[in-house]
Symmetry: C2
Subunit: 213 residues, 2 copies
Amino acid sequence: MTKTTKIPKATITRLSIYYRQIELLEFDGYRMVSSEKLAWLCQVNSAQVRKDLGYFGEFGVRGVGYDVIDLQAQIKKILAVNRDWNLAIAGIGNLGSAFMEHQNLVTRGFKCMAAFDNDPRKIGEITPSGLKIKDISELDQTIDELNIEIGVITTPPSAAQAVADLFIDSQVNAILNFSPTRIHVPDCCMVENIDFTVRLDILTYKLHHEIRI
Amino acid sequence: MTKTTKIPKATITRLSIYYRQIELLEFDGYRMVSSEKLAWLCQVNSAQVRKDLGYFGEFGVRGVGYDVIDLQAQIKKILAVNRDWNLAIAGIGNLGSAFMEHQNLVTRGFKCMAAFDNDPRKIGEITPSGLKIKDISELDQTIDELNIEIGVITTPPSAAQAVADLFIDSQVNAILNFSPTRIHVPDCCMVENIDFTVRLDILTYKLHHEIRI
DNA sequence: CATTGTGAACTCATTCACAGCG
DNA sequence: CGCTGTGAATGAGTTCACAATG
């Protein structure tokens, strides 16, 4: 019934994980799946699965479970990944290049439409996927022309904030930030951070203290 | 006083973020920092900063703040990043290569000591950092010889679980998993996942629903 | 007297437990 | 009967508010 309860951010994260597992289930020929089984695959509690889905509707059949194909479609709709999204990426070093070529993006409708750098040696180069690297000064115009909605930052940390500011000036309100810096943005803009070293620090902490958190 | 209270995982994550900001503060010549300022930089509540640090000791001076150099050293010790850690990486595609060459790792004492793949065309190749790519079948022996404590998985999702199993058999109890699959491991092993698409899905969800979670 | 350190209050998230239903 | 859907109970994490103090 799409209640207006506030939905935990963790729920959205898990929905994305459920989606991935359901894809695999479908590939393996499953038609139905129980919350118990999906929970096991995703390493969460089965009540959690049911509650997460419950925020958005009643997708299951009591006594039976969830239809794999249907659930897949429902989650796609919830996450709004039932359509393509245009990305632009700034900072074409090793990481930026790797991100652009990454299989899981292409197959999921995330399209890298523009690539920017400020290194004169890189500008004008063609990436393996056939994209011409542009000068960062062309960002604003390009974003507008290509209808970019998500900006990806793979620059060194020192450049991250300036690039974020450029994206925001160009009305890009969603940023995926790979640099190990927190960037400051106005309220209209949302940021997701991916920081390798934070993840590694968690592992070293746990290894050192010999605990599982 | 290093109380034996249970420490939230989020606290460890933030500690790593504080650390990054403190490095920058030191670089900018600051000697002291208040919880208020650090909180602003990291986009959290200042009581949160104090509480997080409070789990591990009393590092501040009332009425003054925290000594930048000292706090840096303290957090390094807590996270156990006051020493080097040897990594091995499996799956030398675009992402694996990018990860190996990544600046922030090298400067932080995370050393990529071994690289594995199962593609005959890649085995034997030398990476830009001078590492010879080995056959995945040599994993067990190499891990042992080089004293590897952290394994990194940058393979396609279909290979992730098998590689994880190999790491675990070789007594590697900490895994950084870049593949968009949840891997199943025994209790002795800890896993941190980095999944681009989950992050992108969160952005699309928010863009579509025009909310900030 | 500005700022830390921390118990208490509060908010948010997860899990339980069972009614509801195909 | 078995599994979903969900209110109620529990648990975890964050923020408040203020006493403690260099």
